[in-house]
C-alpha cells in the first residue's frame, strides 16, 4: 500500500470543504509552487507569504527539498488563513508549476475546485522524460496513469485533475518573458528563465485578484538591497499579474483585506532559537555545517555584533570547526571561562559529540546543544523531517551522568525555551540538549512578536567575585550544587578531568569518594524536576477522555486537528511534554487523570516517547499515530486518524504517509 502514497487522489474531508464554499470569502487557502532546486521556488513562496501577511492573513509555509544543490525537485506549500493556523493540510487549493516534475508530483494534491497554473510548453512531456524522477516514482506514476486510462504525459495527469473539478490555466512562461522584453525594451529578459518563479507567483495573484500594490511592496522588500533586480522583478510581476487578470477569467476564491494584528512577525523556523540565543546572552557558538542546523549559526554570525543597553557593543563568536567533536569541545572550553556557550547540530553530528557530552556531564559544565533533528538512520533522509533521535539524546553517553533533554513545539516557543535552557544549564550545571527539528527549521509562519521582557537570566552559582576561602570546584553542598568558578577568576583555580575526581577536581579512584560524587551528580535529576516550574515541564493544551500525548513539532498539526474536531463537538485532550529528561512522571500521571485513552503522536517508527511513557507509567499508550516518510504531519491527516480512534475504527498503530 505504501507504493501508492504519492499518487493517491486526495480524499478531502468534509469539514475542510465547507471552508471553500463558492463566492464566499475564503478563510483557509493553500498555495503551492514547485520547481528544480535553484529556480527560486523559495523566493516565490516568500513573495506569496509576504503579500498575504500584509493582507492580515496568518501564514504557515513549509519547504521540502532534496539533498542537492541544483536541479532536484523542491516545493513550497503556503497555507493562509484569517484564523490561527499552525500546520499544513493534505492537498492544495492552487498549484503553480513551471516544470514537468512539479505537475506529475503534485497535480493529484490539488483539491476539488482547485486551480493549476502551468507552463503550456510542458504538455507532451512523458513521465520517462523527467530525468530527476526516482525509478520507484516513475513506475508508480506510469501505473497510475495507465490504470486511469490516461496517456503517459502531462496532458494525461492534468485531464485527471480537471475531471476532479480543478480549473486549469496554461501559459507559456517563455512567451511571457518574450513579450515582456519587447514591451519594456530589455532584450536581456527574453531568456531569463530564473524569473519563472516571479512570473508564477504573480500569475496566481493576478488570477486571485489580490491588490497589485501588495505584490510590488513585497518584491521591493525582498530585493531591497538590489534596486535594479527589484525593478526588473516588479515589471515582470506586474506583467504576469495583468496577463492572468485579463486572460484567466475569475475564480471562486475571494479574499478580504484584514487588519494586520499588532506585533505580528513573519519568521523562518530557526529564528526562535537564533534570536533566543542572542537575548539569552549566548556569546559563543561553535558548529560544523549540517542540514538543517546550519541556518542558526549562519544567523548568529550575520548578527555577530550586538547592541547592548547602556554599554559598548557585545558580540557572539561563531566558530566553524573542523568537525562536531571540535564544535562541542570548543563550546565546553568556552563555558569554562564563564561564557554562555552552545553548539547546534543534527543527528549525525550529535553522535560525534557524545564523548565530550559525557565529559561535560562529569565535570558539571553548562553547555547547550541545539539539536535540529532530521530523519535517520545514519544520514537517512538528510533534508527531511523526523523525530527519531529522542532516545539517542536521552541515553547516549559514556556512563551515567545528569543532563536535560528539552523540546520546543513551535518557533515562538523555541525563543522562550532557548532562554530557559541556558538558565537550566547554568543553574543545574548540566549539559542541556534542546530538541528542534527540520519541520520547524524550514517552516515560515506568522507569530506574535517575541517578548524579551518575559526573558530572565539566571546564572545559578557562577562566581563573579573571587572566592575568599580555599576554593573547591566540586565541594559538597546541601543542594548538591557547588559554586562554579571560571578560568581567569582570582582564587578560583580548579581542575577538571574526565576521570572521576575529588572535590578539587583531581583524579580519584577512591570508592567512597566515587559514591559521594555519583550521588552528588545524579541527585541533580530529582532536583531538576523539583525546581523547573511545572508549566515548563508539561503543557496541557486541552483535556479530554481521549488524550493525545506528544513532544516537539507535532504540536502545530495536533492543535489544528483538535480545533477541527472541536468544531464537530469532539473534545480531545493534548498533553505536550517539553521536559523529556529527567522525565516528569508524576506530573504526567496527573495530566492524564481525566483521560481514558492515551494516543501517542510522533514522527518516528517506534514511538520513542511512547516507550518512555510505558517505562514510567507502566502502561503502554492505547494508540500510536506515527509518521516516518520524512515529511511532516498535516492537521488533516491527524484529524482523520483521531476521528478513526474516537469512532473505534483504528488500529493500535496508525501510520501516516501523506506528502511528496
Amino acid at each position: 500500500m505504501f507504493a501508492l502514497i504519492v499518487v493517491n487522489v486526495i480524499n478531502v474531508n468534509a469539514r475542510y470543504l465547507m471552508l471553500q464554499q463558492v463566492n464566499e470569502v475564503v478563510s483557509d487557502f493553500t498555495w503551492m509552487i514547485g520547481g528544480p532546486q535553484g529556480s527560486g521556488v523559495e523566493t516565490a513562496a516568500n513573495i506569496f507569504s509576504q503579500v498575504f501577511s500584509k493582507m492580515g492573513y496568518q501564514i504557515f509555509g513549509k519547504r521540502e527539498y532534496y539533498s542537492n544543490i541544483k536541479g532536484e525537485h523542491s516545493y513550497f506549500a503556503v497555507r493562509v488563513s484569517d484564523k490561527q493556523i499552525r500546520s499544513s493540510i493534505k492537498g492544495t487549493n492552487m498549484l503553480i508549476a513551471f516544470d514537468a516534475e512539479t505537475i506529475f508530483r503534485h497535480a493529484n494534491d490539488v483539491l476539488e475546485n482547485g486551480i493549476i497554473i502551468y507552463d503550456s510548453t510542458l504538455e507532451n512531456i512523458k513521465v520517462s522524460d523527467v530525468i530527476t524522477f526516482d525509478n520507484d516514482f516513475k513506475e508508480r506514476m506510469e501505473g497510475f496513469l495507465k490504470s486511469n486510462n490516461k496517456e503517459n504525459t502531462i496532458k494525461g495527469i492534468l485531464e485527471l485533475a480537471s475531471e476532479r473539478g480543478a480549473s486549469i490555466h496554461s501559459v507559456s512562461f517563455r512567451s511571457l518573458l518574450f513579450e515582456l522584453s519587447e514591451k519594456i525594451e530589455n532584450p536581456r529578459i527574453k531568456t531569463m528563465i530564473r524569473m519563472f518563479n516571479v512570473l508564477g507567483v504573480s500569475l496566481s495573484l493576478g488570477l486571485l485578484m489580490i491588490p497589485t500594490e501588495k505584490l510590488t511592496e513585497s518584491i521591493n522588500s525582498i530585493f531591497s538591497k538590489k534596486k535594479a533586480i527589484a525593478d526588473m522583478n516588479v515589471s515582470a510581476a506586474n506583467f504576469a499579474y495583468n496577463y492572468a487578470a485579463a486572460k484567466f477569467g475569475s475564480t471562486d476564491f475571494k479574499f478580504n483585506i484584514n487588519e494586520i494584528k499588532e506585533n505580528t512577525l513573519l519568521v523562518q523556523g530557526y529564528y526562535g532559537t537564533s534570536i533566543g540565543k542572542i537575548i539569552a546572552g549566548c556569546r559563543f557558538q561553535s558548529y560544523y555545517p549540517i542540514t538543517p542546523a546550519t541556518d542558526e549559526s549562519n544567523f548568529l554570525e550575520t548578527n555577530e555584533i550586538l547592541e547592548i543597553n547602556e554599554d559598548r557593543p557585545g558580540s557572539t563568536l561563531v566558530i566553524q570547526t573542523e568537525d562536531e567533536i571540535s564544535a562541542i569541545g570548543m563550546a565546553i572550553g568556552s563555558s569554562l571561562t564563564g561564557v554562555r556557550s552552545a553548539t547546534c547540530t543534527s543527528g549525525p553530528g550529535f553522535v560525534l559529540m557524545i564523548e565530550c557530552l559525557s565529559w561535560a556531564g562529569i565535570n558539571e559544565v553548562p553547555v547547550v546543544i541545539t539539536f535540529y533533528q532530521r530523519s535517520g538512520p545514519s544520514t537517512g533522509l538528510p533534508t527531511r523531517h523526523g523525530q527519531d533521535d529522542l532516545l539517542c539524546a536521552i541515553n547516549s553517553g559514556v556512563g551515567e551522568f545528569p543532563r536535560i533533554v528539552y523540546a520546543s513545539g513551535n518557533v515562538s516557543d523555541s525563543f522562550y525555551d532557548t532562554a530557559n535552557v541556558f538558565n537550566y544549564a547554568d543553574v543545574f550545571q548540566v549539559p542541556v540538549i534542546h530538541m528542534m527539528d527540520k519541520f520547524i527549521a524550514s517552516s515560515v509562519t506568522t507569530c506574535q512578536r517575541f517578548d524579551e521582557t518575559k526573558v530572565n537570566i539566571d546564572r545559578g552559582k557562577l562566581l563573579d567575585e573571587p572566592p575568599s576561602n580555599a576554593y573547591k570546584r566540586f565541594e559538597h553542598t546541601a543542594d548538591g550544587l557547588s559554586p562554579r568558578s571560571k578560568i581567569g577568576l582570582e582564587n578560583g583555580i580548579f581542575w577538571n578531568t574526565g576521570d572521576e575526581s575529588d572535590v578539587e577536581g583531581h583524579i580519584s579512584e577512591d570508592p567512597v569518594n566515587r559514591v559521594e560524587m555519583m550521588d552528588k551528580r545524579q541527585s541533580r535529576l530529582d532536583y531538576i524536576l523539583e525546581k523547573i516550574p511545572e508549566s515548563e515541564q508539561i503543557v496541557k493544551h486541552s483535556d479530554g477522555e481521549f488524550c493525545v500525548v506528544s513532544w516537539g513539532s507535532t504540536q502545530g498539526p495536533i492543535l489544528d486537528a483538535i480545533d477541527m474536531l472541536k468544531n464537530e463537538g469532539i473534545n480531545i485532550g493534548f498533553v505536550e511534554i517539553k521536559l523529556l529528561h529527567p522525565f516528569p512522571k508524576e506530573l504526567l500521571k496527573k495530566s492524564f487523570s481525566n483521560s481514558k485513552t492515551i494516543i501517542d503522536v510522533e514522527a518516528n517508527y517506534t514511538g520513542q516517547l511512547g516507550s518512555i511513557i510505558k517505562q514510567n507509567l507502566e502502561k503502554d499508550p492505547d494508540y500510536y499515530i506515527l509518521k516516518y516518510t520524512g515529511r511532516p504531519m498535516t492537521c488533516t491527516e491527524l484529524y482523520d486518524t483521531l476521528k478513526k480512534i474516537v469512532n473505534n475504527n483504528a488500529e493500535k498503530r496508525e501510520v501516516l504517509t501523506y506528502g511528496a
Binding site: I278, S286, G314, A331, S334, T337, I457, G488, I493
Partner: protein, 321 residues
C-alpha cells in the same frame, strides 16, 4: 611578591614511572611560568589523555584534563573566549598526531595565540606500549609483538604544513633548554608547537636516554659518547621569517622541514620555524569584531538584575509584517 617555581606545583602525587621524561617537561613548564611571572589565575593548562594527560593536575594553575585527542578544541575554545588568558595545551604524540591529528591540522589553520606541547616518546605508554604515530617504520620496541608496520609522521613538518607559526623541538632531559623553548613559545604571537623528545623508560627500549646521549657511539679518540642531540642555536640556522615575501616564506618553511628530517646520528633541537607575519586568530577576529580584545565573550555582561541587556528590537523589526 614574585611567585617561585614551588608556587606552581600542586601536592598531587605524581604516579609517572621512575625516570620518565615527562618529569622534565612538567618542571620546565613550572619554571617557565615562574620566570615569566605569570599570575596563576591567568593561566590554564589543558591536557589530553595518557600519562601526559595528568600534567594539568601537577601544575597549580587552572587545569583541564580533557579527552583523548581533544585537547586542542577545548583549549582553543577557552582562549578565543578570553584572549587575556595564557593557554598551554599538552598531550602525547598518539593523542595529538593520531586520534587528534584532524584537530592538530585545523588548529594550525586558525593560528590561535597559544602553546601546544607534545610529549613525544613514540609509544602509547598508559595502554602498555603500542606503537604511536612517531615510531619509525619497522622498529620493534620491546612491547610490540611484531615490528611497526606504519610510516612515522613528522611532527614539525606536519605543524608547518598545517599553518603553525612556531615550531620547535626540545629534549626533556635538557630542562633549561626546554624551559627557554617553552618561554619562547608562550611569547610567540600565534600558535606555537613544541615537540619534546621524551624517552619512555618502560616501553621504548630504542630511543632511550642512553641512545639520545650516544652511549652506543663512542668517539674513538676521546673515548666519550657522542650525543645525538644538538642545538640549532649553536649553528647558523635562522628560523625566523623576516619579511612578508613568498620566497622568504617558502625558503624558511622548506628549510625547517628538511632540518626536521635529520635523525639517527644528529638530532636537531631548538626553534625550526617562527613567523609572526601571519595574523593570529585573535587578530582576524578584530577585523570582524572591532572591540573583541577589550570586550571578549568572557568579559561581556549579558544581564542586569537578571534581565537581559541585549537589544533585539532592530532584528525583530525587520521581520515585522
Amino acid at each position: 611578591m614574585a611567585l617561585k617555581v614551588g608556587d606552581y606545583k600542586t601536592d598531587v602525587h605524581n604516579d609517572w614511572c621512575p625516570g620518565c621524561g615527562d618529569f622534565g617537561i612538567v618542571n620546565s613548564i613550572q619554571m617557565a611560568l615562574a620566570e615569566m611571572e605569570i599570575p596563576r589565575h591567568e593561566t590554564a593548562i589543558f591536557s589530553g589523555i595518557g600519562c601526559s594527560g595528568k600534567t594539568s593536575h601537577f601544575i597549580n594553575v587552572f587545569g583541564v584534563h580533557t579527552l583523548h585527542g581533544r585537547v586542542l578544541p577545548f583549549a582553543q575554545g577557552a582562549k578565543i573566549s578570553n584572549p587575556n588568558l595564557k593557554i598551554i595545551a599538552v598531550g602525547g604524540d598518539g593523542d595529538g598526531l593520531g586520534i587528534g591529528a584532524g584537530h592538530f591540522v585545523a588548529a594550525g589553520r586558525r593560528n590561535v595565540d597559544m602553546t601546544y606541547i607534545i610529549f613525544d616518546n613514540a609509544v602509547y605508554g598508559l595502554t602498555k606500549g603500542q606503537a604511536s604515530p612517531t615510531l619509525k617504520l619497522g622498529e620493534k620496541t620491546k612491547s610490540l609483538p611484531t615490528p611497526n608496520t606504519n610510516y612515522n609522521v613528522n611532527p614539525i613538518g606536519l605543524a608547518i604544513a598545517s599553518g603553525f607559526t612556531f615550531a620547535a623541538r626540545a629534549y626533556s632531559y635538557d630542562i633549561r633548554h626546554l624551559k627557554d623553548i617553552i618561554i619562547a613559545a608562550i611569547n610567540h604571537k600565534g600558535l606555537a608547537f613544541v615537540d619534546v623528545l621524551q624517552p619512555c623508560p618502560t616501553y621504548n627500549d630504542i630511543n632511550t636516554r642512553d641512545w639520545f646521549n650516544g652511549v652506543d657511539r663512542v668517539d674513538e679518540t676521546t673515548n666519550k659518547p657522542m650525543p645525538r642531540i644538538y642545538k640549532l642555536e649553536d649553528t647558523d640556522y635562522d628560523p625566523v621569517v623576516h619579511y612578508s615575501d613568498e620566497t622568504e616564506l617558502n625558503q624558511k618553511k622548506t628549510q625547517a622541514i628538511v632540518k626536521s628530517l635529520e635523525w639517527d646520528t644528529k638530532i636537531p633541537t631548538g626553534i625550526f620555524y617562527k613567523n609572526e607575519l601571519i595574523t593570529p586568530y585573535t587578530r582576524r577576529l578584530i577585523d570582524k569584531i572591532p572591540n573583541y580584545i577589550e570586550n571578549p565573550s568572557a568579559l561581556q555582561n549579558i544581564s542586569k538584575n537578571n534581565a537581559p541587556v541585549t537589544k533585539i528590537n532592530h532584528i525583530l523589526d525587520s521581520y515585522k509584517v
